[in-house]
Symmetry: C2
Subunit: 104 residues, 2 copies
Amino acid sequence: MDAVFKALADEGRRTLLDRLFARNGQTLGELCEEMHMSRQAVAKHLGILEEANLVVVQWRGREKLHYLNPVPINEIAERWIGKYERNRLAALSALKQALEGDKK
Amino acid sequence: MDAVFKALADEGRRTLLDRLFARNGQTLGELCEEMHMSRQAVAKHLGILEEANLVVVQWRGREKLHYLNPVPINEIAERWIGKYERNRLAALSALKQALEGDKK
DNA sequence: TTGACATGCAACCAAATGGTTGCATATTAG
DNA sequence: CTAATATGCAACCATTTGGTTGCATGTCAA
């Protein structure tokens, strides 16, 4: 899971995921457009996303097609964020009380 | 939002959030226990969590009490993860088809 | 076959990150 | 007042990160 969090920490990589979300199965060349950095830099980012299993790759001849894999994101939502979200109101309430308690 | 993702990228910081989730309002000293790094390192991590607004601080005399703020995590879940999660099955299906399509 | 195209690999570099240590400051206890 | 306690600030360091460039490899099209 650490790899997933680390992969999501970079704005450029989140953009790449957004673009695959908008249109799945793009090649490296396509994904390079609009990212203003070199092809190799984009390839590195995609490698990190692959490593985190957020992107799955498919070769078609000389083209490398990239597919979004939503499973790890779902796992984060389920196992980690859900934990906080479920208790959101309780935690907010505790926080509010703590801060108000000080002013008294 | 970038600050939140970056803050969540470190295992130690996630542990700190977990510990505040388990017991809210701990002091820096308390949070240092079990983390095997120096007090200053923990303080830096907490600073990053504060910066990302994931932790809110309350002074009580010479003690600094730390409170978990669940709002930014909730925002991630709502605005970003939710986007992928909602289409989880559709994306999985597309992925599967793409991979199977190759084998034919 | 040959050239163009899509991608990979590796060396290199600057900046950010995560950690340390030493010392300073503020508050509480005796 | 003085000690001890709780924390802050700043310099410093090694490693990681995000980017570059140059060149190599594999595939398609003419």
